[in-house]
Symmetry: C2
Subunit: 136 residues, 2 copies
DNA sequence: GTGCTTGCAAATCGTTTGCAATAGC
DNA sequence: GCTATTGCAAACGATTTGCAAGCAC
């Protein structure tokens, strides 16, 4: 899938070399990378890439819903090129993040799956009625 | 409710003046404070309280499930003395965090409520099968 | 007095900011 | 040329760490 160019356009993000590379990385790597992960990988092939650009781009992409910014790990923001509705499991020991299809959630809450779930956090983002008014 | 002493014992946390004050604050303030919020409030009456102690204590309390550590706001960790299963709404403009009873979730996803929901994050915490083995 | 708790100061580190250089229309 | 993008270096700020002092049993 080399269509990061079109993918960006569809999300109203003006394409550039840097933005396409970062978007392509997110679309082809489902390992929930951090800004640093992406920078380290891409700068191997793009030595002039700057970390600031990675941060800027990831902000633009997540604001445009071209990717998700996951906050479940309090240390780092992780990014996910899969914007469909699904859950995430964070292992407190190895810090790996694993995708959880939503229809498995009931299983997980019964602790009958391959994970031991300690706690759940369900977060909604948007605008409250007050701020929504101000935006119009 | 002055039973922060018993509440700590029930959660296997050895009580101390500082820990009781912080626990009491969480049990009586449902505004999802940060470590800094709690420090600023409590240090008015406990001038010798240190921010390190607030951080240490909040870590102990959340590890012991005496409170929740919310990561939905990427800037700060917010704490919640209400450990029952419920969701949270974060307004991207005013940054207020609002409790969401779980039975309202379906309403929110239809955007028929008082909030405009842009995105949802469902996070599970625990131990993956690999790490669970190592712990035993 | 032994071990846990507290608190100060300093360090850490992911992220942001200021601003000059560059690229694209 | 004008505007947006990029990139370097410096700043920021929430959280953590090292360690000495205090407290409790």
């Amino acid at each position: 899938m080399n269509n990061s160019y079109n993918y960006l356009l569809e999300h109203n993000v003006k394409p550039s070399m840097q933005r396409m590379s970062i978007m392509k990385y997110l679309l082809t790597h489902k390992n929930h990378p951090t800004a640093d992960d992406i920078y380290n990988e891409l700068s191997k092939r793009m030595p002039t890439l700057s970390k600031t650009t990675v941060y800027n781009t990831l902000k633009i992409l997540s604001d445009s819903k071209a990717c998700l910014a996951l906050t479940l790990d309090e240390k780092n923001i992780h990014y996910d090129g899969d914007t469909s509705l699904h859950g995430h499991f964070l292992c407190k020991d190895c810090n790996k993040i694993i995708d959880i299809p939503l229809n498995e959630i009931s299983l997980l809450r019964n602790e009958s799956s391959e994970f031991t779930v300690d706690s759940v956090e369900i977060s909604f983002y948007g605008y409250c009625s007050n701020c929504e008014k101000k935006r119009i």
